[in-house]
Protein backbone atom coordinates (compact mmCIF):
# COMPACT_ATOMS: atom_id res chain seq x y z
CA UNK A 1 0.00 0.00 0.00
CA UNK A 2 1.25 3.49 -0.86
CA UNK A 3 1.68 5.91 2.02
CA UNK A 4 -1.02 8.50 2.61
CA UNK A 5 -1.88 11.24 5.05
CA UNK A 6 -5.08 11.00 7.04
CA UNK A 7 -7.60 13.25 8.68
CA UNK A 8 -11.08 13.08 10.13
CA UNK A 9 -13.62 15.33 8.45
CA UNK A 10 -15.40 17.91 10.59
CA UNK A 11 -18.44 18.44 8.34
CA UNK A 12 -19.69 17.27 4.93
CA UNK A 13 -18.88 20.61 3.33
CA UNK A 14 -15.41 20.68 4.86
CA UNK A 15 -14.84 17.15 3.58
CA UNK A 16 -15.92 18.20 0.07
CA UNK A 17 -13.70 21.28 0.09
CA UNK A 18 -10.72 19.33 1.39
CA UNK A 19 -11.23 16.60 -1.20
CA UNK A 20 -11.26 19.17 -3.99
CA UNK A 21 -8.23 21.08 -2.72
CA UNK A 22 -5.97 18.19 -1.72
CA UNK A 23 -4.30 16.35 -4.60
CA UNK A 24 -5.03 12.64 -4.58
CA UNK A 25 -7.57 12.85 -1.76
CA UNK A 26 -10.31 10.27 -1.28
CA UNK A 27 -13.10 9.85 1.23
CA UNK A 28 -13.08 6.71 3.36
CA UNK A 29 -16.19 5.40 5.13
CA UNK A 30 -16.58 1.62 5.54
CA UNK A 31 -13.36 1.13 3.61
CA UNK A 32 -14.23 -2.43 2.62
CA UNK A 33 -13.71 -1.78 -1.08
CA UNK A 34 -11.20 1.09 -0.96
CA UNK A 35 -8.70 -0.62 1.39
CA UNK A 36 -8.88 -3.82 -0.65
CA UNK A 37 -8.00 -1.81 -3.76
CA UNK A 38 -5.30 0.18 -1.94
CA UNK A 39 -3.55 -3.02 -0.85
CA UNK A 40 -3.40 -4.02 -4.53
CA UNK A 41 -2.29 -0.47 -5.45
CA UNK A 42 -5.21 -0.15 -7.83
CA UNK A 43 -6.26 2.82 -5.72
CA UNK A 44 -3.35 4.99 -4.56
CA UNK A 45 -4.77 7.97 -2.68
CA UNK A 46 -2.26 10.42 -1.21
CA UNK A 47 -4.70 11.56 1.44
CA UNK A 48 -7.69 9.93 3.13
CA UNK A 49 -10.56 11.91 4.57
CA UNK A 50 -12.29 9.74 7.16
CA UNK A 51 -15.97 10.70 7.14
CA UNK A 52 -17.14 8.14 9.70
CA UNK A 53 -17.53 10.75 12.44
CA UNK A 54 -20.12 12.77 10.50
CA UNK A 55 -23.73 12.56 11.68
CA UNK A 56 -25.03 10.94 8.49
CA UNK A 57 -26.13 7.61 9.91
CA UNK A 58 -29.88 8.06 10.35
CA UNK A 59 -32.84 6.76 8.34
CA UNK A 60 -35.55 9.41 8.53
CA UNK A 61 -39.09 9.70 7.18
CA UNK A 62 -39.49 12.48 4.61
CA UNK A 63 -42.53 14.81 4.62
CA UNK A 64 -43.94 13.14 1.47
CA UNK A 65 -43.87 9.68 3.04
CA UNK A 66 -40.52 8.48 1.68
CA UNK A 67 -37.26 7.74 3.45
CA UNK A 68 -34.02 9.68 3.65
CA UNK A 69 -31.10 7.33 4.21
CA UNK A 70 -27.92 8.93 5.55
CA UNK A 71 -24.78 8.25 3.50
CA UNK A 72 -23.17 6.44 6.44
CA UNK A 73 -26.05 4.10 7.27
CA UNK A 74 -24.42 0.66 7.30
CA UNK A 75 -25.81 -2.01 4.98
CA UNK A 76 -26.82 -4.20 7.95
CA UNK A 77 -28.77 -1.39 9.58
CA UNK A 78 -30.53 -0.37 6.38
CA UNK A 79 -31.56 -3.96 5.62
CA UNK A 80 -32.86 -4.37 9.18
CA UNK A 81 -34.76 -1.08 9.36
CA UNK A 82 -38.40 -2.06 9.91
CA UNK A 83 -39.69 0.62 7.50
CA UNK A 84 -37.43 -0.72 4.76
CA UNK A 85 -38.44 -4.32 5.51
CA UNK A 86 -42.12 -3.40 5.38
CA UNK A 87 -42.33 -0.80 2.59
CA UNK A 88 -39.19 -1.35 0.48
CA UNK A 89 -38.67 -5.09 0.87
CA UNK A 90 -36.80 -5.32 -2.43
CA UNK A 91 -34.10 -3.10 -0.90
CA UNK A 92 -33.75 -5.24 2.24
CA UNK A 93 -33.58 -8.35 0.09
CA UNK A 94 -30.95 -6.87 -2.22
CA UNK A 95 -28.77 -5.76 0.70
CA UNK A 96 -29.03 -9.15 2.40
CA UNK A 97 -28.07 -10.89 -0.85
CA UNK A 98 -24.77 -9.00 -0.94
CA UNK A 99 -21.39 -9.65 0.67
CA UNK A 100 -21.06 -11.21 4.16
CA UNK A 101 -22.34 -10.22 7.59
CA UNK A 102 -18.96 -8.74 8.49
CA UNK A 103 -18.82 -6.64 5.33
CA UNK A 104 -22.42 -5.45 5.62
CA UNK A 105 -21.64 -4.24 9.15
CA UNK A 106 -18.96 -1.91 7.77
CA UNK A 107 -20.15 -1.03 4.27
CA UNK A 108 -22.13 2.20 3.92
CA UNK A 109 -24.99 3.31 1.70
CA UNK A 110 -22.93 5.86 -0.23
CA UNK A 111 -19.88 3.62 -0.43
CA UNK A 112 -21.98 0.80 -1.83
CA UNK A 113 -23.13 3.05 -4.70
CA UNK A 114 -19.50 4.00 -5.40
CA UNK A 115 -17.90 0.56 -5.21
CA UNK A 116 -15.72 -0.42 -8.13
CA UNK A 117 -16.19 -3.25 -10.59
CA UNK A 118 -14.93 -6.76 -9.82
CA UNK A 119 -13.79 -7.28 -13.42
CA UNK A 120 -10.74 -9.58 -13.08
CA UNK A 121 -8.75 -7.39 -15.47
CA UNK A 122 -9.42 -4.28 -13.38
CA UNK A 123 -7.97 -6.20 -10.43
CA UNK A 124 -4.93 -7.55 -12.31
CA UNK A 125 -2.44 -4.69 -12.53
CA UNK A 126 -0.37 -6.59 -15.09
CA UNK A 127 -3.20 -6.42 -17.63
CA UNK A 128 -4.44 -3.47 -19.67
CA UNK A 129 -7.62 -1.89 -18.32
CA UNK A 130 -9.11 1.38 -19.51
CA UNK A 131 -10.90 1.84 -16.21
CA UNK A 132 -7.73 1.48 -14.11
CA UNK A 133 -5.26 2.97 -16.59
CA UNK A 134 -7.11 5.08 -19.18
CA UNK A 135 -5.96 4.40 -22.71
CA UNK A 136 -4.22 1.09 -21.91
CA UNK A 137 -6.88 -1.04 -23.58
CA UNK A 138 -9.40 -3.65 -22.44
CA UNK A 139 -8.15 -7.16 -21.77
CA UNK A 140 -11.62 -8.36 -20.85
CA UNK A 141 -13.21 -8.14 -24.31
CA UNK A 142 -11.22 -11.09 -25.61
CA UNK A 143 -10.49 -12.53 -22.20
CA UNK A 144 -12.33 -14.22 -19.38
CA UNK A 145 -15.58 -12.31 -19.61
CA UNK A 146 -18.04 -14.74 -18.06
CA UNK A 147 -18.96 -12.28 -15.26
CA UNK A 148 -19.06 -9.16 -17.42
CA UNK A 149 -21.57 -6.89 -19.14
CA UNK A 150 -23.89 -7.95 -21.94
CA UNK A 151 -25.54 -4.61 -22.67
CA UNK A 152 -24.53 -0.92 -22.94
CA UNK A 153 -20.84 -1.82 -22.79
CA UNK A 154 -18.32 -0.32 -25.20
CA UNK A 155 -15.26 -1.58 -27.02
CA UNK A 156 -13.27 0.15 -24.28
CA UNK A 157 -14.90 -1.49 -21.26
CA UNK A 158 -17.31 -4.32 -20.46
CA UNK A 159 -17.20 -4.04 -16.68
CA UNK A 160 -20.32 -4.46 -14.58
CA UNK A 161 -21.37 -2.54 -11.51
CA UNK A 162 -21.22 -5.12 -8.71
CA UNK A 163 -23.79 -3.73 -6.28
CA UNK A 164 -27.03 -5.48 -5.33
CA UNK A 165 -28.23 -2.50 -3.27
CA UNK A 166 -27.94 -0.13 -6.22
CA UNK A 167 -30.24 -2.32 -8.33
CA UNK A 168 -33.00 -2.01 -5.74
CA UNK A 169 -32.31 1.70 -5.28
CA UNK A 170 -32.62 2.22 -9.04
CA UNK A 171 -35.86 0.24 -9.11
CA UNK A 172 -37.24 2.45 -6.34
CA UNK A 173 -36.27 5.69 -8.17
CA UNK A 174 -33.82 6.75 -5.48
CA UNK A 175 -32.17 10.16 -5.56
CA UNK A 176 -28.61 10.87 -4.42
CA UNK A 177 -28.16 14.04 -2.34
CA UNK A 178 -24.74 15.66 -2.38
CA UNK A 179 -22.82 18.67 -1.17
CA UNK A 180 -20.24 20.32 -3.38
CA UNK A 181 -16.99 22.02 -2.35
CA UNK A 182 -18.64 25.47 -2.63
CA UNK A 183 -21.28 24.36 -0.13
CA UNK A 184 -24.12 24.05 -2.64
CA UNK A 185 -26.26 20.94 -2.49
CA UNK A 186 -27.94 19.04 -5.30
CA UNK A 187 -30.11 15.97 -5.85
CA UNK A 188 -29.13 13.53 -8.60
CA UNK A 189 -31.62 10.84 -9.65
CA UNK A 190 -29.85 7.48 -9.52
CA UNK A 191 -31.04 7.05 -13.11
CA UNK A 192 -28.60 9.86 -14.06
CA UNK A 193 -25.86 9.03 -11.55
CA UNK A 194 -23.74 6.52 -13.50
CA UNK A 195 -22.06 7.36 -16.81
CA UNK A 196 -22.06 5.04 -19.80
CA UNK A 197 -18.53 3.66 -20.26
CA UNK A 198 -18.05 4.90 -23.85
CA UNK A 199 -14.39 5.80 -24.32
CA UNK A 200 -14.00 7.12 -20.76
CA UNK A 201 -14.80 4.11 -18.55
CA UNK A 202 -12.63 5.52 -15.75
CA UNK A 203 -15.29 8.23 -15.25
CA UNK A 204 -18.00 6.24 -13.54
CA UNK A 205 -20.40 8.78 -12.06
CA UNK A 206 -21.49 12.36 -12.63
CA UNK A 207 -20.04 13.45 -9.28
CA UNK A 208 -17.75 16.46 -9.58
CA UNK A 209 -14.32 16.74 -7.96
CA UNK A 210 -14.82 16.77 -4.20
CA UNK A 211 -18.58 16.33 -4.40
CA UNK A 212 -19.72 14.35 -1.35
CA UNK A 213 -22.82 12.16 -0.98
CA UNK A 214 -24.80 13.00 2.15
CA UNK A 215 -27.94 10.89 1.67
CA UNK A 216 -30.00 8.69 -0.61
CA UNK A 217 -33.71 9.50 -0.73
CA UNK A 218 -36.48 7.04 -1.53
CA UNK A 219 -39.88 8.27 -2.80
CA UNK A 220 -43.03 7.07 -1.01
CA UNK A 221 -43.62 3.30 -1.02
CA UNK A 222 -44.97 1.67 -4.19
CA UNK A 223 -46.91 -1.17 -2.60
CA UNK A 224 -47.10 -4.34 -4.68
CA UNK A 225 -45.02 -7.49 -4.34
CA UNK A 226 -41.28 -6.99 -3.99
CA UNK A 227 -38.86 -9.60 -5.30
CA UNK A 228 -35.05 -9.64 -5.50
CA UNK A 229 -33.65 -12.77 -7.13
CA UNK A 230 -29.87 -13.14 -7.33
CA UNK A 231 -28.34 -15.89 -9.44
CA UNK A 232 -24.72 -16.68 -8.62
CA UNK A 233 -22.10 -19.41 -8.56
CA UNK A 234 -22.48 -20.02 -4.80
CA UNK A 235 -25.61 -19.89 -2.63
CA UNK A 236 -24.09 -17.13 -0.50
CA UNK A 237 -21.27 -14.59 -0.49
CA UNK A 238 -20.70 -14.25 -4.24
CA UNK A 239 -21.32 -11.52 -6.78
CA UNK A 240 -24.29 -11.86 -9.09
CA UNK A 241 -24.10 -13.45 -12.50
CA UNK A 242 -27.39 -11.68 -12.92
CA UNK A 243 -29.99 -10.41 -10.49
CA UNK A 244 -33.58 -9.31 -11.02
CA UNK A 245 -35.35 -6.76 -8.83
CA UNK A 246 -39.06 -6.29 -9.38
CA UNK A 247 -42.11 -4.65 -7.91
CA UNK A 248 -45.26 -6.27 -9.28
CA UNK A 249 -48.73 -4.81 -8.71
CA UNK A 250 -51.88 -6.96 -8.45
CA UNK A 251 -52.87 -6.06 -12.05
CA UNK A 252 -49.51 -7.27 -13.39
CA UNK A 253 -48.03 -3.85 -14.01
CA UNK A 254 -44.90 -2.77 -12.20
CA UNK A 255 -41.22 -2.23 -12.75
CA UNK A 256 -38.06 -4.23 -13.11
CA UNK A 257 -34.28 -3.68 -12.89
CA UNK A 258 -31.37 -6.06 -13.40
CA UNK A 259 -27.93 -6.34 -11.87
CA UNK A 260 -24.82 -8.01 -13.26
CA UNK A 261 -25.56 -7.14 -16.87
CA UNK A 262 -24.30 -3.58 -17.36
CA UNK A 263 -22.09 -0.80 -15.97
CA UNK A 264 -25.05 0.31 -13.87
CA UNK A 265 -28.33 -1.13 -12.58
CA UNK A 266 -30.19 -1.95 -15.79
CA UNK A 267 -33.69 -0.52 -16.07
CA UNK A 268 -35.59 0.70 -19.10
CA UNK A 269 -38.90 2.54 -19.31
CA UNK A 270 -40.12 0.37 -22.20
CA UNK A 271 -39.55 -2.75 -20.10
CA UNK A 272 -41.65 -1.37 -17.25
CA UNK A 273 -44.39 -0.51 -19.75
CA UNK A 274 -44.33 -4.11 -21.03
CA UNK A 275 -44.76 -5.64 -17.56
CA UNK A 276 -48.41 -6.54 -17.99
CA UNK A 277 -47.64 -8.31 -21.30
CA UNK A 278 -45.42 -10.94 -19.71
CA UNK A 279 -41.73 -11.58 -19.33
CA UNK A 280 -40.95 -12.02 -23.05
CA UNK A 281 -41.72 -8.43 -24.05
CA UNK A 282 -40.00 -7.20 -20.86
CA UNK A 283 -36.85 -9.12 -21.76
CA UNK A 284 -36.92 -7.82 -25.34
CA UNK A 285 -37.25 -4.23 -24.15
CA UNK A 286 -34.30 -4.65 -21.79
CA UNK A 287 -31.98 -6.54 -24.11
CA UNK A 288 -32.92 -5.92 -27.77
CA UNK A 289 -29.52 -4.30 -28.31
CA UNK A 290 -27.45 -6.65 -26.14
CA UNK A 291 -23.95 -7.39 -27.35
CA UNK A 292 -22.59 -10.28 -25.26
CA UNK A 293 -19.23 -11.98 -25.65
CA UNK A 294 -19.00 -15.66 -26.42
CA UNK A 295 -18.38 -16.43 -22.75
CA UNK A 296 -21.21 -14.40 -21.28
CA UNK A 297 -24.00 -14.94 -23.82
CA UNK A 298 -25.44 -17.41 -21.30
CA UNK A 299 -26.38 -14.42 -19.15
CA UNK A 300 -29.10 -13.50 -21.64
CA UNK A 301 -30.70 -16.93 -21.33
CA UNK A 302 -30.34 -16.73 -17.58
CA UNK A 303 -31.88 -13.25 -17.52
CA UNK A 304 -34.83 -14.33 -19.65
CA UNK A 305 -35.62 -17.33 -17.47
CA UNK A 306 -35.07 -15.48 -14.20
CA UNK A 307 -37.31 -12.65 -15.37
CA UNK A 308 -40.06 -15.17 -16.19
CA UNK A 309 -39.69 -16.77 -12.77
CA UNK A 310 -39.62 -13.49 -10.86
CA UNK A 311 -42.63 -12.01 -12.66
CA UNK A 312 -44.58 -15.23 -12.12
CA UNK A 313 -43.71 -15.10 -8.42
CA UNK A 314 -44.71 -11.44 -8.28
CA UNK A 315 -48.10 -12.16 -9.82
CA UNK A 316 -48.75 -15.23 -7.72
CA UNK A 317 -48.05 -13.49 -4.40
CA UNK A 318 -51.13 -11.72 -3.06
Amino acid sequence: MKAFTYEKAGSPQEAARCAQQTPGAKFIAGGTNLLDLMKLEIETPLHLIDVNGLALDAVEATPDGGLRIGALVRNTDLAADMRVRRDYAVLSRALLAGASGQLRNQATTAGNLLQRTRCPYFYDTHQPCNKRTPGSGCAARDGYSRQLAVVAASEHCIATHPSDMAVAMRLLDATVETVRPDGSERAIPLAEFYRVPGDTPHLETVLEAGEFIIAVVLPPPLGGTHVYRKVRDRASYAFALISVAAVVQPDGTGRVALGGVAHQPWRREAADEAMAQGSGPVFDALFHDADPTESNAFKLVLAKRTLASVLAEGRATP
Binding site: A3, T32, D36, L103
Partner: protein, 192 residues
Amino acid sequence: MSTPHDTPMLQDAEKPPESAPHTLPVTLHVNGQAHSLHVDSRTTLLDALREHLHLTGTKKGCDHGQCGACTVMVNGRRVNACLTLAVMQDGVEITTIEGVGTPEDLHPLQAAFIKHDGYQCGYCTPGQICSSLAVLAEIKAGIPSHVSGDLLAAPALSPEEIRERMSGNICRCGAYANILDAIEDYAGGQTS
Protein backbone atom coordinates in the same frame (compact mmCIF):
# COMPACT_ATOMS: atom_id res chain seq x y z
CA MET B 1 1.93 15.76 17.69
CA SER B 2 -1.72 16.50 17.32
CA THR B 3 -4.36 13.79 17.46
CA PRO B 4 -6.32 12.83 14.37
CA HIS B 5 -9.30 14.68 15.77
CA ASP B 6 -7.67 18.10 15.74
CA THR B 7 -5.41 17.71 12.73
CA PRO B 8 -6.10 20.81 10.67
CA MET B 9 -6.95 20.54 7.00
CA LEU B 10 -3.68 19.97 5.22
CA GLN B 11 -2.82 22.50 2.58
CA ASP B 12 -0.90 21.42 -0.50
CA ALA B 13 2.36 22.98 0.66
CA GLU B 14 2.19 21.20 3.99
CA LYS B 15 1.57 17.80 2.51
CA PRO B 16 4.47 15.39 2.85
CA PRO B 17 5.96 14.17 -0.41
CA GLU B 18 4.43 11.14 -2.06
CA SER B 19 5.15 7.82 -0.36
CA ALA B 20 6.55 9.36 2.84
CA PRO B 21 5.16 7.24 5.67
CA HIS B 22 2.75 9.13 7.85
CA THR B 23 2.54 8.23 11.53
CA LEU B 24 -0.43 8.98 13.76
CA PRO B 25 -1.35 8.42 17.39
CA VAL B 26 -4.27 6.14 18.13
CA THR B 27 -5.77 4.66 21.27
CA LEU B 28 -7.13 1.16 20.81
CA HIS B 29 -9.45 -0.22 23.49
CA VAL B 30 -9.01 -3.98 23.21
CA ASN B 31 -10.66 -6.48 25.53
CA GLY B 32 -11.19 -3.76 28.12
CA GLN B 33 -7.67 -2.36 28.03
CA ALA B 34 -6.56 0.92 26.46
CA HIS B 35 -3.38 0.94 24.37
CA SER B 36 -1.88 4.20 23.10
CA LEU B 37 0.11 3.62 19.94
CA HIS B 38 1.78 5.48 17.12
CA VAL B 39 1.06 3.72 13.86
CA ASP B 40 1.74 4.21 10.18
CA SER B 41 -1.53 5.42 8.63
CA ARG B 42 -1.52 2.25 6.49
CA THR B 43 -1.72 -0.07 9.50
CA THR B 44 -4.90 -2.11 9.44
CA LEU B 45 -6.68 -2.94 12.67
CA LEU B 46 -5.56 -6.53 12.07
CA ASP B 47 -1.87 -5.60 11.86
CA ALA B 48 -2.17 -3.30 14.87
CA LEU B 49 -3.62 -6.16 16.93
CA ARG B 50 -1.07 -8.71 15.81
CA GLU B 51 2.13 -6.72 15.27
CA HIS B 52 1.78 -3.88 17.77
CA LEU B 53 -0.25 -5.46 20.57
CA HIS B 54 0.93 -9.04 19.94
CA LEU B 55 -2.63 -10.33 20.17
CA THR B 56 -2.00 -13.05 17.62
CA GLY B 57 -5.25 -14.94 18.20
CA THR B 58 -6.80 -12.90 15.40
CA LYS B 59 -5.51 -14.47 12.18
CA LYS B 60 -4.50 -13.05 8.83
CA GLY B 61 -5.91 -15.27 6.12
CA CYS B 62 -6.53 -13.55 2.80
CA ASP B 63 -6.07 -9.95 4.05
CA HIS B 64 -8.80 -8.91 1.59
CA GLY B 65 -12.04 -9.48 3.49
CA GLN B 66 -12.83 -12.74 1.75
CA CYS B 67 -12.05 -15.39 4.38
CA GLY B 68 -13.19 -14.03 7.76
CA ALA B 69 -10.16 -15.34 9.71
CA CYS B 70 -9.59 -11.81 11.06
CA THR B 71 -13.13 -11.35 12.38
CA VAL B 72 -13.26 -9.27 15.57
CA MET B 73 -15.99 -7.32 17.30
CA VAL B 74 -16.04 -3.53 17.11
CA ASN B 75 -18.58 -2.04 19.51
CA GLY B 76 -20.17 -5.48 19.58
CA ARG B 77 -20.45 -5.85 15.79
CA ARG B 78 -18.35 -8.30 13.82
CA VAL B 79 -16.06 -6.82 11.19
CA ASN B 80 -13.10 -7.91 9.07
CA ALA B 81 -10.12 -6.40 10.92
CA CYS B 82 -8.10 -6.51 7.68
CA LEU B 83 -10.42 -4.03 5.96
CA THR B 84 -10.36 -1.19 8.43
CA LEU B 85 -7.50 1.06 9.48
CA ALA B 86 -6.29 1.20 13.06
CA VAL B 87 -6.61 5.00 13.01
CA MET B 88 -10.28 4.63 12.11
CA GLN B 89 -10.92 2.64 15.32
CA ASP B 90 -9.67 5.23 17.80
CA GLY B 91 -11.49 4.90 21.10
CA VAL B 92 -14.03 2.22 20.13
CA GLU B 93 -14.41 -1.07 22.04
CA ILE B 94 -12.70 -3.95 20.28
CA THR B 95 -13.10 -7.59 21.32
CA THR B 96 -10.74 -10.25 19.99
CA ILE B 97 -10.66 -13.99 20.65
CA GLU B 98 -8.36 -13.25 23.63
CA GLY B 99 -11.25 -11.35 25.16
CA VAL B 100 -13.73 -14.17 24.53
CA GLY B 101 -11.97 -16.90 26.54
CA THR B 102 -8.60 -18.29 27.57
CA PRO B 103 -7.18 -21.84 27.63
CA GLU B 104 -7.75 -21.84 31.41
CA ASP B 105 -11.20 -20.32 31.20
CA LEU B 106 -12.83 -21.33 27.93
CA HIS B 107 -15.93 -19.59 26.66
CA PRO B 108 -18.73 -22.19 26.39
CA LEU B 109 -18.70 -21.76 22.61
CA GLN B 110 -14.97 -22.55 22.52
CA ALA B 111 -15.69 -25.65 24.60
CA ALA B 112 -18.42 -26.59 22.12
CA PHE B 113 -15.98 -26.29 19.20
CA ILE B 114 -13.64 -28.69 21.01
CA LYS B 115 -16.46 -31.07 21.90
CA HIS B 116 -17.74 -31.19 18.30
CA ASP B 117 -14.31 -31.14 16.64
CA GLY B 118 -15.25 -27.91 14.86
CA TYR B 119 -11.87 -27.47 13.20
CA GLN B 120 -8.93 -29.34 11.80
CA CYS B 121 -5.94 -27.00 11.50
CA GLY B 122 -7.61 -24.37 13.72
CA TYR B 123 -6.43 -21.33 11.76
CA CYS B 124 -9.92 -20.04 10.98
CA THR B 125 -11.29 -20.92 14.43
CA PRO B 126 -10.83 -17.58 16.25
CA GLY B 127 -12.67 -15.86 13.40
CA GLN B 128 -15.34 -18.57 13.34
CA ILE B 129 -15.94 -18.15 17.07
CA CYS B 130 -16.05 -14.34 17.05
CA SER B 131 -18.34 -14.46 14.03
CA SER B 132 -20.63 -17.10 15.61
CA LEU B 133 -21.10 -15.05 18.75
CA ALA B 134 -22.07 -12.06 16.63
CA VAL B 135 -24.38 -14.19 14.47
CA LEU B 136 -26.30 -15.35 17.51
CA ALA B 137 -26.55 -11.77 18.75
CA GLU B 138 -27.79 -10.66 15.31
CA ILE B 139 -30.50 -13.33 15.29
CA LYS B 140 -31.50 -12.35 18.82
CA ALA B 141 -31.66 -8.69 17.74
CA GLY B 142 -34.05 -9.66 14.93
CA ILE B 143 -31.74 -8.76 12.04
CA PRO B 144 -32.98 -10.65 8.95
CA SER B 145 -30.80 -12.62 6.54
CA HIS B 146 -30.90 -13.71 2.92
CA VAL B 147 -32.68 -16.95 3.89
CA SER B 148 -35.25 -15.41 6.26
CA GLY B 149 -38.62 -16.32 4.76
CA ASP B 150 -40.60 -13.46 6.23
CA LEU B 151 -38.80 -10.14 6.52
CA LEU B 152 -41.25 -8.93 9.16
CA ALA B 153 -40.95 -11.97 11.46
CA ALA B 154 -38.22 -12.66 14.00
CA PRO B 155 -35.53 -14.79 12.33
CA ALA B 156 -35.32 -18.41 13.46
CA LEU B 157 -32.32 -19.98 15.11
CA SER B 158 -32.17 -22.66 12.41
CA PRO B 159 -29.27 -24.47 10.72
CA GLU B 160 -30.18 -22.73 7.46
CA GLU B 161 -29.98 -19.28 9.11
CA ILE B 162 -26.66 -20.07 10.81
CA ARG B 163 -25.10 -21.41 7.60
CA GLU B 164 -26.11 -18.34 5.60
CA ARG B 165 -24.93 -15.92 8.27
CA MET B 166 -21.57 -17.72 8.63
CA SER B 167 -20.82 -17.58 4.88
CA GLY B 168 -18.19 -14.88 5.43
CA ASN B 169 -16.02 -17.35 7.37
CA ILE B 170 -14.20 -19.85 5.20
CA CYS B 171 -12.79 -23.11 6.62
CA ARG B 172 -10.23 -24.56 4.25
CA CYS B 173 -10.29 -27.86 6.13
CA GLY B 174 -14.01 -28.09 5.52
CA ALA B 175 -15.11 -28.53 9.12
CA TYR B 176 -18.39 -26.78 8.41
CA ALA B 177 -20.70 -29.57 9.58
CA ASN B 178 -18.97 -29.73 12.97
CA ILE B 179 -18.79 -25.93 13.25
CA LEU B 180 -22.55 -25.85 12.76
CA ASP B 181 -23.01 -28.56 15.41
CA ALA B 182 -20.88 -26.57 17.86
CA ILE B 183 -22.82 -23.37 17.29
CA GLU B 184 -26.18 -25.13 17.59
CA ASP B 185 -25.11 -26.95 20.74
CA TYR B 186 -23.98 -23.70 22.37
CA ALA B 187 -26.98 -21.72 21.11
CA GLY B 188 -29.40 -24.42 22.31
CA GLY B 189 -28.01 -24.02 25.78
CA GLN B 190 -28.34 -20.26 25.53
CA THR B 191 -31.99 -20.15 24.49
CA SER B 192 -33.26 -22.22 27.41
